[in-house]
């Protein structure tokens, strides 16, 4: 076994060079380069963490804004609906008033027309009575040769007309 057979001859060389080269590894690579590599990893981890946090914050802000927008939207809708209801109520009231006034106008017109008709009827009746009395005087004078005065003829006509 050369490890033992050459021990006396080479142990110091082995120890020396191991210390030299492991020392180089430790100080140059372990102390010099590894912290930089790990620093890069840490940097990246931090960056990722920050980015995630920023994304989360952005999402929260967006959520908040959406919530605010929804609230505003709801308020607006409610306001719009009350506006519409108001307008509807106002229009209905105006309609009613207009209808009422129209009705009143119609009623008065109707009443006027009725009184006119009544008057016309009365005057027509009077004329008919007059005409009928004259006709009666005429008829009596022609048939019997007797003269009937106007008043008698009129009373007879009135009597006949009311009986008819």
């Amino acid at each position: 076994m050369p490890q033992i057979a050459q021990l006396a001859e080479f142990w110091s060389s082995q120890v020396f060079w191991t210390l030299i080269f492991f020392g180089l590894t430790f100080f140059v690579i372990g102390r010099g380069m590894v912290p930089k590599v790990m620093g890069t990893v840490e940097l990246r981890d931090n960056q990722i963490k920050d980015d995630l946090a920023a994304a989360q914050a952005a999402r929260d802000a967006a959520d908040q804004q959406e919530e605010a927008w929804r609230e505003r939207e709801n308020e607006n809708r409610v306001a719009a609906q009350s506006l519409i209801a108001d307008a509807k109520a106002k229009a209905a009231a105006a309609n009613e008033k207009k209808l009422a006034s129209a009705q009143k106008r119609l009623d008065t017109k109707l009443a006027e027309a009725e009184t006119e008709i009544e008057a016309a009827r009365v005057s027509a009746m009077a004329e008919i009575e007059g005409v009928a009395a004259e006709a009666t005087q005429d008829i009596v004078a022609r048939l019997s040769g007797e003269k009937v005065d106007k008043r008698t003829a009129r009373a007879a006509v009135k009597k006949a007309l009311t009986n008819a």
């Binding site: 001859e9 082995q14 060079w17 191991t18």
Partner: protein, 263 residues
Amino acid sequence: MAADQAKVDPMKQFQLEPLFGSENWKELAGFDIAFTNSAMWMAITVVLLWGFVFGGMKRELVPGRWQMAVESFTGFIDDMLEANVGKEGRKYVSYIFSLFMFILFANLLGLMPIGVLGLHPFTFTSHFTVTGVLAVLSFSIVLIVGFWKHGFKFFTLFVPHGTPVPMILPIALIEFFSFLIRPFSLALRLFVAMMAGHVLLKVLSSFVIDGLNAGAMTSIIVAIPSFALMIAISALEILVAGIQAYVFALLTSLYINDAEHLH
């Protein structure tokens, strides 16, 4: 005989050889510090590991594949320390990462099939002198951190909570010895696992070569099944390379947890 010449020595792969005429370097207070093939492969490991991690240092916000690979390794070590040590584990990431990647690259490089190019891969983690240094380093960190943070209260590590009073002494002794054995088990586990795998592969390869040389019949009975087994065991060794690096790093982080939190 031809069979003798073709014989494969399964131990030769662990032989240390000074390179570049460095046999007589005695610069460090008279100690021999020859630049061996082992040191050479450590250098290759460091260079490749540096290249690997450097490729992951582009610091892009959206990582490419390479950066992703490097970051998954650092993340893996970070998670392991987070799970085993907790928040305090963060400051050991540099050390555990170096340890894990150094061992992992060494183990994997030793398995590279560059023998077909005439080169000889050398697995320096199959030498207990090397794994021993790493284990002693880990153990020293545990001792230093333990005594730094807890002073002499660190010795309460050897008395688990709820130990009945008469049992305190024997249990403390057992715990103390198991504590002292840690660096040895740490070093030996890696060294043995790596060596065993490589020896097994070499022995099987000698079966293939000798079987082929001995004729058609042995080729079918010995060489081909051995070759199939070699392929399977090579796959297993890649797994072992990762597992042993992981075990070394995991146990070190568990020991550091002891030092940080006692029991």
